[in-house]
Symmetry: C2
Subunit: 229 residues, 2 copies
DNA sequence: CGCTGGATTGAGGCCGATCAACTTCAGTGG
DNA sequence: CCACTGAAGTTGATCGGCCTCAATCCAGCG
């Protein structure tokens, strides 16, 4: 219930090609411990304390889920993204050298700390890895595109996206979300009340079935229709 | 007036490191013509006709400006991004192998067609270029973040972003935008009327001075305040 | 000069925010 | 096991910002 990722091992990690080279992990602590590497355990609500503001590591979620966010002048939280098991956060910091936001665990979570310098070194001699990392970055560009207009569109697109990222069974699209209605709202630029109302509306219309953190997508076609219109 | 970019040469192109290696252009037609390479001239309104849906090239704007967009079921245009002289479009297609949207010229425009396969080849032996392209992709992730809530916030952030991307003089923040109010609205998820109204309001409040396509940022601090709040 | 597409401005309506009451859940300790 | 407590979720009533529809103005151009 507290762990939305069905897989806990490295086999769905986006960076596994980096680890599996030579049948041995070249980066993460899990396989080849290096002095500066860490495997970090976070309790629900704890934030990743970057060793400094300076960017040095990417973070791969092994188990659990995280959010990246900023708090603006009014004290409102703006969520930039949610990250689940196998996904990687920190790409945005590569260019500037500084993390543009904080990262907090949505439930008990384990992450691998990946030293980026070592990653770059590894790249130099491996064209396959060059292509892989470029593909990952390209993929990031297409995701997090919830620039839909209406609240229903945004929530529909959000649910469709999450169902696939949580590796939900295609024939039984049921999953549990680790974040609160407020988190969802802060991400989609909606209030928790609006999120809740739309969940209820979708449920009443037999499009989904939602109670608290449990979700089931019933009419995926209709949901897609709402998201794309 | 028709060309918002002050520079017409390659010296501000994001991909110039690729071209300047060996003091000779390794990719674009401008310096080293390859059979499949082209330099394309587009008139205002013309779209880039990808040779196929299949992704094969990145496109660097040499002169002018472009927009990437999709048209949804209702016939509404959703604009994903604006691109000016020196900037590169097409990164989103790398991962999937297909262009997820169309690209149209906002004014008379010249673009360099960059064969991506050749670019990857070039990468293999040049760590400096590997870092450069990864930095470019990382930078793309941080841009196009107009997920502000209010219309004023979005437009303020938009104007600040564009002033820097158009390389406007810091001491005289004046520039002319090639896109219509409708384009801006389609990008910021606002109607052209709302964009127009806010331009008028900002002008009345001595924050900017806008008439038609001409803009001047008068009180940049106040504009930043609006954008960040 | 008139024509045309874009920009501006006004009036009214709708969607989502705000404020508030109540319910349900999860964790704690008796 | 149950009672208590605070956080999260739901639902209702009202308010306000942006959209919609419409009229007018303006610039560019044949």
């Amino acid at each position: 219930m507290n762990n939305p990722g069905h897989h806990s091992s490295c086999d769905i990690c986006q960076l596994s090609p980096f680890c599996m080279e030579d049948k041995n992990c070249a980066l993460s602590t899990r396989c080849l411990p290096l002095p500066t590497d860490r495997q970090i355990k976070l309790k629900r609500g704890e934030t990743l304390s970057w060793s400094s503001d300076k960017f040095e590591h990417l973070y791969a979620i092994q188990q659990g889920a995280m959010k990246t966010f900023q708090t603006n002048a009014d004290g409102n939280e703006i969520i930039h993204g949610f990250y689940f098991a196998g996904e990687v956060l920190g790409y945005e910091a590569i260019n500037t050298g500084y993390y543009p936001f904080s990262a907090a665990a949505l439930c008990d979570t384990e992450v691998c700390e990946i030293p980026f310098a070592a990653m770059l070194e590894l790249l130099e001699s491996r064209p396959a890895l060059q292509k892989h990392i470029i593909n990952l970055l390209s993929h990031q560009l297409t995701s997090s595109q919830y620039l839909k207009t209406s609240a229903e569109q945004r929530l529909a697109a959000f649910l469709i996206d999450l169902s696939s990222r949580l590796h939900a069974d295609k024939n039984n699209l049921e999953f549990s979300l680790p974040m609160t209605r407020e988190d969802i709202g802060n991400y989609l630029r909606l209030t928790p009340e609006t999120v809740s109302r739309i969940c209820s509306r979708f449920t009443a219309n037999q499009i989904i079935k939602s109670e608290y953190k449990k979700f089931r997508l019933i009419d995926l076609d209709k949901l897609r229709l709402i998201a794309d219109e």
